[in-house]
Amino acid sequence: MTYNAIGKPIGRVEGPAKVTGAATYSADIRLPNMAWGKALRSPLPHARIVRIDTGAAERLPGVLAVLTAKDLPDLLIGRRVYDMPVLAKDRVRFIGEKVAIVAAEDPDTAEEAMSHIEVDYEELPAVFDAQQAMQADAPLLHPQYRYYPHAPAKYFSDLPNVHSHVTWQLGDVAQGFGAAAHIFEHSFTTHYVHQGYIEPHASVVAIESDGRAHVWLSNKMPFRTKELLADAVQIPLEQIFVHLIPIGGDFGGKGSLMDSPLCYHLARRLGRPVKMVMTYTEELMAGNPRHPTTIALRTGVTRQGIIVAREAKVIFNSGAYAAFKPTPVVNITGASQAAGAYGIPNICIEAYSVYTNCIPAGHMRAPGDPQVTFAVESAMDMMAEALGLDALEFRRRNLLKDGDRLPSGHPVEHVKVRETLDAAVHAAGWGQPKPRPTIGRGLAVSHRHIGIGDANAQLSVEGDGTVTLVTAAPDTGTGSHTVLRQIVAETLALPIQQVQVQVATTDVFEADSGAGGSRVTHVAGQATYQAAQELKAHILEVAAQLLHCQPRELTLQDGRCAVAANRDRSLLLAEVAQAALVHERPLVVRKTYRVAEYPHITGFTAQAVALEVDAETGQMTLLDVVTAHDVGTIINPLGHQGQIEGGLVQGVGFGMIEEMRTEDGRISTLSLGDYKLPNIKDIPPLKTVLVQEELGPVPFQGKSIGESSVTPITAAIANALYDAVGVRICDLPITAEKVYQALQAQQQANENPPEHHRREP
């Protein structure tokens, strides 16, 4: 198909605001008479609060109020299960938990007041490791869990501290293992990483005299936030008004209430607007990072190299609260990726989400997929080697096919994994002689659903002939508003400049799922597309009356309705709009789109890495990365490629650069100086390959892309490392230190080889 606006690398609608500094983020909101809030956090991982003395802090000049749990409604909050207090009541469960809150005239005074609050604690036994927390003698963090609001009864477990146990099962695993000639067992661990958005969470609340609360916060789910906040501060839903403003990066981390309930309570107490901005130290101490994971795989393979059975046990260190997990299962559904991009007929996956006295973990880009795919795709190479098979060939024998079912039971159709994998290995020169023998190559594959949920669109034609789209889809940086603008321009055959985008508030629509889960271009796209189609019909109907013809005789192009057979008979869109207004039939359309079941079409990613290792230091250099994706119609190639590149570099960060180091529940990397995010010098040479077919549920036959490229790269790096120097790292991240130590161990083993372990050089 050829399109007018679709497929064009159109710059962002909010671009001028963002490059001039005019775009206003939550932390930029300044209101008259605004006060500043700051939270005092627990220094202990598990303790009883014996006494809090706020007197000295209250007496500090400039301090306006100091609140503790006794000043707030006695309730719990969360994104699904409500298990987290707004301020710790009688017990703290992690280092960084909020214990008291100060409002002051300025942030420095609020900060100073922290040191004047006295808290006496009585330490309690703590547990930091998820597997230890599941043992009978572990301290119970939430003895009342089963009675918490929205606790998922279907996923309760009798194991201590397990707050959600989810099983995905296909076929008959025992029978599958019975048919296997080889049975392999592998285990892996992954670490904490932060979403790394450069905008720390900020919240502002202002309460009007009639009680209406205006809320600005770094949040990509404004409608859900409104509901959760209403519960958290015990006011009616209608009294909350959430402003949709730019979000300074999300990657899964900006879906919770964060400090907004505290801002509300302080604002109500003071009768003044209140703002709270987290520091990056607070982000790293008490944000909602990616879950550390322990993954055990048991896999049965036939003599022919076909995987016939798998058991997977995935244990997520949930931290002190489950409050940051939005899914109905209150677990990390990425665990279901333990089948990988393969059709395994007999599989049982068990995911345990476990309370510990660590920072509560949350969602991060493709939640669970990067962890579990690291394990699955590393294991593919390990098994291939043991079977004497080529890693690519072993994968090819097991790839998903049309009609196969995922472990969730969900069928997949139009499966493009083979083509995607082939495209990646072709572009990577897989199997070609290596320029240097020290170069290692690695490969990995994954898939990601196309997201679902609700979204809305309102479209109207203005008196000047421009079309206004009102959307409540937040733009976390993905370019969603620009994509929606292109959909309108295409459907109405308008120049892009003639389409304005207006961002709604939570008053304009009833509900909207918000951004996340590879959803927006699909559901907000469909809402917008359908609204545009209906608007077009409406325009043509009004124009037909004015031109005394049938709507089907008309064309709409470049803002003009014309009779196809006689183009002299025509009207400008502005004229149609004005006439419609006179006849009290304004050209306004509203549409809600809702999809509850995942499409059967999914998107595959195959990545290939070439790297080289400095044997003296363990330092790895990525020489080449290929990322191949099966895609449908691309609405905006600039934004689409931006998603691929950004996700890929986050994957590299997860694999070999980033680590929130912990010691007994204490995060020791508490600044971006210690927690290293990839910078511009860390990026590898990258080749992107798109395997394209106009197919998919996104308007104009497209697919999702945002959560695809982040996933396989880590295993591809691990596999390339093994190929280069024979070192297999199963515990992320793959740092130079770890590689160096493994090389040393390898060298020692080679010098004193036990007979049966000798490795050929």
Binding site: P9, G11, R12, E14, G15, P16, A17, K18, V19, T20, G21, A22, A23, T24, Y25, A27, D28, R30, D108, Q195, G196, Y197, I198, E199, P200, P246, I247, G248, G249, D250, F251, V277, T279, Y280, T281, T476, G477, T478, G479, L638, G639, Q641, G642, E645, G646, G647, L648, V649, Q650, S671, L672, G673, L677, P678, N679, I680, K681, I683, L686
Partner: protein, 159 residues
């Protein structure tokens, strides 16, 4: 303790009574209302707060406002002229050099300073210069393209 300082910010003169410990970023954002400059890490690592002081890049989150006494400060708000974007700003839009936009003010200020000093930088020179500005959205590829694109346009303008 408070000092009286005179600052020239984006071509405007300000005389301000400044507490000795006040940071330049807070002065810009809250005393002058120039919230285009962003605070990310607060420790001089992420570059979101980058501004120019007498043409040199500084992290405004680590710089005391009193040190700006008598200096020319350029923030992101000072790059466009009479509603026309600076070529670096336009290139960041055209080449997809940002997504969420939170790092962008620091990025475009740093990129402008680079091109002022080195109108035709190599990729390695761009990377060396820009490594103090973190972006979590783009993976940097399109930032490189944006700066290359801006360099080309600026050179064409000069010819």
């Amino acid at each position: 303790m408070t000092h009286t300082i005179r600052m020239h910010v984006n071509g405007k003169d300000y005389t301000l009574d400044m507490p000795a410990q006040r940071l330049l970023i807070d002065c810009l954002r809250y005393d002058l209302g120039l919230t285009g400059t962003k605070e990310g890490c607060s420790v001089g690592v992420c570059g979101a707060c980058t501004v120019l002081m007498d043409g040199a890049l500084v992290s405004s989150c680590l710089t005391l406002a009193v040190l700006a006494d008598g200096k020319q400060i350029t923030t992101v708000e000072g790059l466009a002229h009479n509603g026309t974007l600076h070529p670096v700003q336009q290139a960041f839009i055209d080449f997809g050099g940002f997504q969420c936009g939170i790092c962008t003010p620091g990025m475009v200020v740093a990129a402008k300073a680079l091109l002022d000093e080195n109108p035709n930088p190599s990729d390695d020179e761009i990377k060396d210069w820009m490594m103090g500005n973190l972006c979590r959205c783009t993976g940097y590829y399109k930032i490189l393209e944006s700066i290359r694109g801006a360099a080309t346009r600026l050179q064409t303008e000069r010819v």
